[in-house]
């Protein structure tokens, strides 16, 4: 007894000290706030001292543009070859020669592609998967989205392998050279994932041109990081026995890497591949703004004309594409993970790859048939159908019947919650924020973290973006908070019942891939432009990781421990509170962390419904083609994310250490 008492005392003493420190810190910040007449420079960053980082970035961009366009343009040309091939093959058909002498070789027939998709699914995961994948493609065809969907698929088909190969090599390099990982790769990955794509759209347009290649490079910048991370994780998780064994067997370094380590790390690598596909599909809207066309462009165009139904259909076609590719890649990962059975290698191609041969044959036959039967070449209009009027009617019905109730709710929310929080955030002294965040960094992760966090906060102030930064913090903070409030209980329910999980999983998959544009406009019709709409759209997107990680965390608590709790006489409630929840806490915290990052990713989209924060700043920069201004605002958004991420990680690490 005395032992436990003394340890708890020892543990509580530093906690008490920190309590005092925090109380003093808050008092100091409050004092600064109250004395703002005397110390205005500590509350609002003085306009005279703003450092014009934006102008430097613009100047640098101009320098690169005028001196290195030959390089960037040759990259465009080189990448354009496979990309054009894929786009022609799937969507546009080949045009040989130009002008009047043009000869057209047809694109692949839609019938053939659907059958090939079915065959691929069947080969990877049996009839059921085949029907699902083939069904998704058929769905796209029947809803009249074929050409756009194939443009998108063509871009994905080239971008994804490009991301995977790049990610794999960078990951291997980072794994071999820890210094490179720490100094170069890791910060770069953080920035690539947190700077919104809109922020570097202008430099992309200047350097790589208004073409699908730019869209592909933008997609690659956003979608490659998970592959790099997965590679590093996969390689470091390979059991040392396997490593030792390969050395005993006399492998060279190269053989060891390619024949032993990478195959053993395959499950982790496949998770990376899967994430690359998902993130690449997330980018289709933005890609369509710089020359890619496809489904993303259809969504944009439909929304500009307020065709909600059409936009929803194009959005759901993206979801269908995502589901097909996701399930296919997961099935391939599983079948590979089960390992190979040695088979006698058959000499003929047909015997070795029956499905592939069949798919090629079907594609060739249907495409040739398309030359004579138009129904094979393009989806005949007669068999397509549309649900657009239904969507439109549903939205109108809700608008007419529920608007007044919704309006009352919205006004109450704005006046009582949102506006006060906003005023509080925007009036927060910048010096106080630097000080408090630095202190939190010091408590959670020591001096290095404190310096990092303080420096990133100072950047937001000295670039003159303090007020907009805090407006961003306000919207993201509230949205992430509500998303957790909704998401964690749902995740909890999903973890306790397989039936709930079965319902929840497709819903959150859809929320993650369906472009936010699709539902942001109907929400405007109900909630008007402004912060409430932005908040709802953000919550809908950011709730996904909160649900997913809570469910995952609770499900991976070893059943033996729960059994042990039951045997020792815990009630259900005790088992949950004392055993399951503490063990799942790191995962749940990771989910919260991801929720914050997702909320931040939505800031740009929210600017489309009239928020006044860093997202708006990025938009203004985009319309003025001002690369410096866009990148600086993008960096400020990224830094908010990095600060939140670092503090959260440090906190989770501490919590985990306490558990063990």
């Amino acid at each position: 007894m005395t032992v436990t008492a003394s340890t708890s005392e020892a543990r509580s003493r530093p906690v008490q000290i920190w309590l005092v420190v925090w109380a003093c810190a808050f008092a100091a910040v409050l004092a600064v706030f109250l004395l703002q007449d005397r110390l205005p420079w500590a509350v609002n960053y003085p306009a005279g001292a703003i450092v014009s980082v934006a102008d430097w970035v613009s100047a640098l961009m101009n320098l690169i543009k005028s001196n290195f366009s030959w390089l960037t343009r040759s990259i465009t040309a080189a990448l354009g070859v496979p990309l054009d091939f894929a786009l022609n093959l799937l969507a546009k058909s080949f045009k040989i020669g130009r002008g009047a002498d043009m000869v057209v070789l047809p694109r692949l027939s839609w019938v053939g592609v659907c059958i090939a998709a079915f065959l691929a699914g069947r080969a990877a995961g049996g009839w059921k998967l085949g029907a699902l994948v083939g069904g998704c493609f058929l769905y796209i065809a029947l809803f009249g989205q074929w050409t756009s969907a194939m443009l998108t698929l063509g871009l994905i088909a080239i971008a994804v392998p490009f991301c995977i190969v790049t990610g794999l090599f960078v990951g291997i390099w980072a794994w071999r050279k820890p210094w490179a990982e720490r100094l170069l790769i890791s910060p770069a990955l953080d920035l690539m994932q947190t700077i919104p794509t809109f922020a570097y759209l202008i430099p992309m347009l200047l350097l790589f041109g208004n073409s699908p290649v730019s869209a592909m490079i933008a997609t690659a910048i956003f979608a490659t990081p998970p592959m790099v991370r997965a590679t590093m994780l996969g390689l470091s998780r390979v059991p040392s026995e396997i490593n030792d064994f390969s050395e005993m067997a006399g492998c060279t370094a190269r053989q060891k890497l390619w024949r032993v380590l990478l195959p053993s790390g395959r499950p982790a690598l496949m998770v990376g591949v899967n994430q690359v596909i998902m993130l690449a599909l997330n980018m289709v809207i933005i890609a369509s703004m710089i020359g890619a066309g496809g489904l993303g462009y259809d969504v944009l165009l439909a929304l500009r004309a307020l065709k909600i139904g059409e936009a929803m259909e194009a959005g759901l076609a993206i979801v269908a594409l995502a589901i097909a590719l996701d399930r296919l890649s997961q099935a391939i990962a599983r079948s590979h993970a089960q390992g190979h059975v040695y088979q006698e290698v058959s000499p003929s191609f047909w015997r070795r790859y029956p499905n592939l041969t069949l798919a090629i044959a079907v594609l060739a036959v249907t495409t040739l048939l398309g030359l004579f039967v138009p129904a094979f070449a393009a989806v005949p209009k007669a068999i397509t159908f549309t649900t657009a009027p239904m969507w439109k009617t549903a939205v109108s019905w809700i608008t007419i019947n529920f608007f007044d109730t919704i309006e009352a709710f919205r006004v109450a929310l704005i006046l009582n919650v949102l506006n006060p929080v906003r005023a509080f955030c925007e009036g927060f002294p910048w010096l106080g924020a630097v000080f408090l965040l630095g202190l939190a960094g010091y408590q959670l992760g020591g001096l290095r973290l404190a310096v990092l966090v303080a420096a990133l906060t100072i950047f937001c102030a000295v670039t003159g973006l303090w007020e907009k930064t805090m407006a961003t913090v306000y919207l993201c903070g509230i949205s992430a908070f509500i998303a957790c409030l909704i998401g964690i209980p749902i995740g909890l329910m999903a973890s306790r019942s397989d039936r709930v999980e079965k319902v929840v999983t497709p819903v959150i998959d859809t929320l993650q891939v369906l472009p936010s544009f699709c539902f942001i406009i109907p929400v405007v019709m109900l909630f008007r432009v402004g912060d409430v709409t932005a908040m709802i759209a953000t919550v809908a997107f950011a709730v996904v990781p909160a649900i997913r990680y809570t469910n995952y965390g609770l499900r991976q608590v070893p059943p033996a421990l729960i059994e042990a709790a039951k045997v020792s006489g815990c009630t259900k409630r005790q088992t949950f509170l004392r055993v399951q929840l503490p063990l799942a806490l790191p995962e749940i915290m990771l989910g919260v962390n991801q929720t914050i990052l997702m909320a931040l990713a939505m800031i740009i989209i929210c600017a489309m419904v009239g928020t006044r924060d860093l997202g708006q700043e990025v938009f203004i920069a985009l319309s003025k083609a001002d690369s410096g201004r866009g990148i600086v605002a993008g960096l400020a958004i990224a830094f908010i994310g990095i600060i939140a991420d670092r503090l959260f990680n440090a906190w989770t690490a501490k919590a985990r250490a306490r558990l063990e």
Binding site: G99, N210, G610
Partner: protein, 324 residues
């Protein structure tokens, strides 16, 4: 017939076809000067894409290869059009792209091809049913009446009226206008015009009060019944000189400028495709016709390609003359 021989027959056929057409002299002797694709930008609204498809259709009939890359409206003026990634873009509105066009002209790498024809009109707009609640409209002075402003208010702007302006990136000066004309209105900025018209559609269905920025040519004034507020007419002095107008201490005490819609091209187009350049420079379209065609696409669900083909067939004499 075996598959292989069928393929070889097909490719042989294609080759002979190609050879034959190389040998026969082209109908249009002048065009095309270059077989490189002419890239006509698509933006994200209907009329510009229709114009692109019309011009593209004409150029294709003249033997050119045409591509339609998608692009971003304002930034294309200083990115794609300056370096030839985009050859032509057809609608830049004086009312929203004034500064961007100035910046583009300053680069010297683009060329203003002249006006498209239709005049852009943008102003404060309200649905017809609001006239009952504010009988003095469309005269702007009616809005100064507090009762009238209140009719346009919502809970968070009351007693001020609520005016839904365009995105901050559009050069609207509505905050300044409301202040200069002492209108009891709060200006709310929509982030995109899609959001703006979503609010209009929602309000119109419920016959609810709304005052917002509507522009023409656009499908909205065709679909919803309503009127533009009549402000004092715009003059350049109004935007530059405080003394001008009803408020001697403030600028922007007048309506929005009504402007041209401009066509732009990459500066290199003139030398690379002289005939196509001539067609693009001469290309104009009638306002009413454009509105009607936009309506056919947005409200009746026709494709832009079909509507464009109809225009090209109906105006064959016109565009043949442009190419001379």
């Amino acid at each position: 017939m075996s598959l292989r021989s069928m393929i070889s027959r097909l490719s042989m056929g294609a080759l002979t076809l190609a050879a034959a057409s190389v040998l026969t002299p082209s109908v249009h002797a002048a065009a095309p000067e270059s077989n490189d694709p002419i890239k006509i930008a698509l933006f994200d609204w209907t009329s510009v894409n229709l114009n692109a498809k019309i011009l593209g259709g004409i150029l294709e009939k003249l033997g050119y290869t045409v591509e339609y890359p998608t692009a971003d409206y304002l930034s294309s003026l200083t990115t794609g059009l300056t370096n030839g990634d985009l050859t032509v873009a057809l609608e830049f509105w004086d009312t929203t792209a004034g500064e961007a066009m100035k910046a583009s002209d300053a680069t010297g790498q683009t060329e203003r091809l002249g006006a498209l024809g239709p005049k852009a009109k943008e102003e404060w707009w309200y649905p017809e049913y609001m006239k009952e609640k504010c009988p003095g409209l469309p005269n702007w002075e009616a809005l100064k009446d507090p009762k009238c402003a209140e009719a346009f208010s919502t809970a968070e702007t009351a007693p001020n009226g609520r005016y839904l302006g365009g995105p901050v990136t559009w050069e609207g000066f509505d905050d300044e206008r409301a202040a200069a004309l002492k209108l009891p209105f709060t200006v709310i900025h929509a982030g995109t015009d899609a959001a703006m018209f979503a609010e209009l559609d929602s309000a119109y269905q419920r016959k609810a009060p709304i005052m917002l920025w509507v522009y023409s040519p656009h499908w909205a004034p065709a679909k919803y019944k309503g009127e533009w507020v009549e402000f004092p007419d715009y003059t350049p002095e109004c935007y530059n000189d405080p003394k001008w107008g009803v408020n001697p201490e403030a600028k922007y005490d007048c309506g929005k400028p009504h402007g041209e819609i401009w066509k732009y091209s990459w500066a290199g187009m003139k030398d690379k495709w002289p005939v196509a350049y001539k067609v693009a420079k001469n290309y104009t379209v009638d306002t009413d016709e454009l509105n009607k065609m936009s309506g056919e696409i947005d409200l009746e669900g026709k494709t832009p390609e079909d509507v464009a083909a109809g225009w090209i067939a109906a105006h064959e004499a016109d565009w043949k003359a442009w190419a001379e």
